[in-house]
């Protein structure tokens, strides 16, 4: 009896958890499918769905361009972040050298740095250098949070890979670089995938810098919500459609590799 009660309480708890974390996203999806008349009737759960909001967002407001900008920025930044971060994580996990703790500490501090504060100097510097509103600027600036993230996450994976793997390769006459490319990277593939995906998501969702440092040419998807905040109020249907479009690639990636991703999150968590 007591056990059944406990089990029931657990299921109620789980249901509440699912509701709290999942409902806002579900509500966004529902809102994006509503016609204007139904937007203001939250009680109406059954309504004839429409894709008008999506066509309006994509065609009328030109979100396609911003999707393209987001793809360029997020992809370019992910590639660069991995290149810089994975090599550094390998160096930190495999070599003992003077100043290693300082470097590791610096990278941790970089991760904790309140990036929002750099909006002003980046804005003024980019203005003076005439690189405001470019893909290049965002790709560069997003390194400030993604590189520390990659180093932090990948270090844990490299520490899990036994040193014997590359020592065998080194004995066989491989150089350090060849051993890294042929032995270590393939062994760390799940970690690489998870880290790369999270990097992409962080860059894809970034809002603060993009809001202040782009205006047209390099505007990304999250900042496009500005178009839907009009003087007559917020265009909820279109904004929700934009939100669904923005979260879609993330959900697709998550569905494809959620096991690897969950492990990635856990590794990231367990080493704190």
């Amino acid at each position: 009896m007591r056990r059944q009660l406990l089990a029931a309480m657990r299921w109620v708890g789980l249901a509440a958890v699912v509701l709290f974390f999942g409902f806002p996203i579900v509500w966004m999806l529902l809102t994006s499918l509503k016609e204007r008349v139904h937007l203001y009737q939250p009680g109406q759960l059954f309504f004839p769905p429409t894709l008008d909001n999506y066509t309006a967002a994509l065609v009328k407001y030109g979100i396609l361009d911003y999707i393209w900008n987001s793809v360029i920025v997020a992809t370019g930044n992910t590639v660069l972040s991995l290149a810089l971060g994975v090599t550094a994580a390998y160096g930190l996990s495999r070599f003992a050298f003077r100043g290693r703790d300082t470097v590791a500490l610096g990278i941790l501090l970089a991760r904790l740095f309140p990036t929002i504060t750099l909006v002003i100097p980046f804005f003024v510097l980019a203005f003076l250098l005439r690189i405001l509103d470019t893909h290049f600027l965002l790709i560069l600036i997003y390194l400030t949070f993604n590189v520390p993230f990659v180093v932090w996450a990948m270090r844990a994976y490299f520490q899990d890979i036994p040193k014997e793997i590359e020592e065998a390769a080194l004995v066989d006459g491989c150089g350090r670089l060849a051993a890294f490319l042929r032995c270590i990277l393939p062994a760390a593939r799940p970690g690489l995938f998870a880290t790369g995906v999270l990097c992409f998501i962080l860059a894809w969702n970034e809002f603060n810098y993009a809001l202040f440092l782009t205006s047209r040419a390099a505007k990304t998807v999250p900042t496009a919500i500005a178009f839907f905040r009009t003087e007559r109020g917020i265009l909820w249907g279109e904004v929700s459609a934009l939100g669904v479009i923005a979260i879609l690639p993330v959900l697709v990636i998550a569905a494809l590799g959620h096991k690897v991703l969950l492990r990635g999150f856990s590794v990231e968590g367990s080493q704190q």
Partner: protein, 295 residues
């Protein structure tokens, strides 16, 4: 192991590019920010005409003549405390629930991490829709259940309402960290406790919590630091308002530098105060992580 000195040279090409890029991208803008904070530079005026004011901006902020600054410090402390407290409690609850769940765990975990998949700005806007007084779904449910119509984003409620959104965004990570921690705990002591007939609460209070202590402390500081820099969701929910109800430091920086006025000099000083605050907390965090590793 190879000698330290030879390895030192070998590590350089692996670590240096990353270290150099991060230094350039963070230290230079931070130094530039410090410099701008010592000027009265205003957006729209030529850069060459910026007046150098020394500590003037800081004196204005800290000296008490700027009422909004101290309000924003208080708001930041309240917001960070609410978000951290809420996320730790909820995150621990979720982790304990998931740890005791077999079937369906992956599904619940995937739902729990959904807020991580969405931009804070869009998440904030979705909550603003749900919080709407007239056609928000929350008031619809509250109307049916209690016959109430709550003004969620009013002067009195806005800080709590934004903190709930903050918890929604921060708790998933906390839950994942705690779950990883719970799963790494040794089995032995728990079986001994069960044989001894310890209650669930006794086990949690005297076994689980002490063993998780290092993780709890570190996660707490991570969450505080992260909450102190939140901007996107609050910006879209309330823009720091109504009035100064949710005017946390990043929002005050935004209002001073870009929103209500364009005084980038003073905005930079606000930003620098936030950096100092964060780095002080980060110092505590680093010391705690070292102690945890040595223990």
């Amino acid at each position: 192991m190879t000698k330290r000195s030879t390895v030192h040279g070998a590590a350089l090409p692996w670590v240096a590019p990353c270290a150099v890029v991060l230094c350039l991208l963070i230290l230079i803008p931070a130094a530039f920010l410090l410099y701008v904070s010592l000027t009265g530079y205003e957006l729209g005026f030529p850069w060459a005409e910026r007046p150098f004011v020394g500590m003037g901006n800081y004196q204005e902020l800290l000296g008490g003549s700027d009422y909004e600054f101290w309000v924003s410090v208080r708001r930041s402390v309240s917001y960070a405390s609410l978000v951290t407290g809420g996320s730790l409690l909820l995150g621990m609850g979720v982790a304990l629930l998931l740890n005791a769940t077999g079937r369906g765990r992956t599904f619940v975990m995937l739902v729990v991490i959904m807020p991580l998949a969405i931009s804070h700005a869009i998440g904030g806007l979705m909550w603003k829709l749900m919080y709407n007084v007239e056609f928000g779904v929350l008031n619809h449910v509250f109307g049916i259940l209690f016959g109430l119509k709550v003004n969620w984003l009013s002067d009195a409620n806005a800080l709590y309402a934004t903190a709930v959104v903050g918890v929604w965004m921060a708790a998933p990570f906390v839950a994942l960290f705690f779950l990883a921690g719970l799963q790494s705990l040794p089995r032995g002591p728990f079986e001994a406790a069960r044989v001894d007939g310890a209650s669930w609460w006794q086990t949690f209070r005297h076994l689980t919590l002490p063993m998780l202590r290092p993780i709890v402390l570190v996660v707490t500081l991570f969450t505080v630091i992260d909450a102190l820099r939140s901007f996107g969701a609050i910006y879209l929910l309330t823009e720091g308002g109504p009035g100064v109800a949710t005017l946390v430091l990043p929002l005050y920086m935004y209002r001073t530098g870009f929103g209500y006025s364009n005084i980038l000099g003073k905005g930079s000083a606000i930003a620098f105060v936030l950096i100092l605050l964060t780095m002080a907390l980060a110092g505590i965090l680093v010391r705690m992580m070292r102690q945890a590793r040595e223990a």
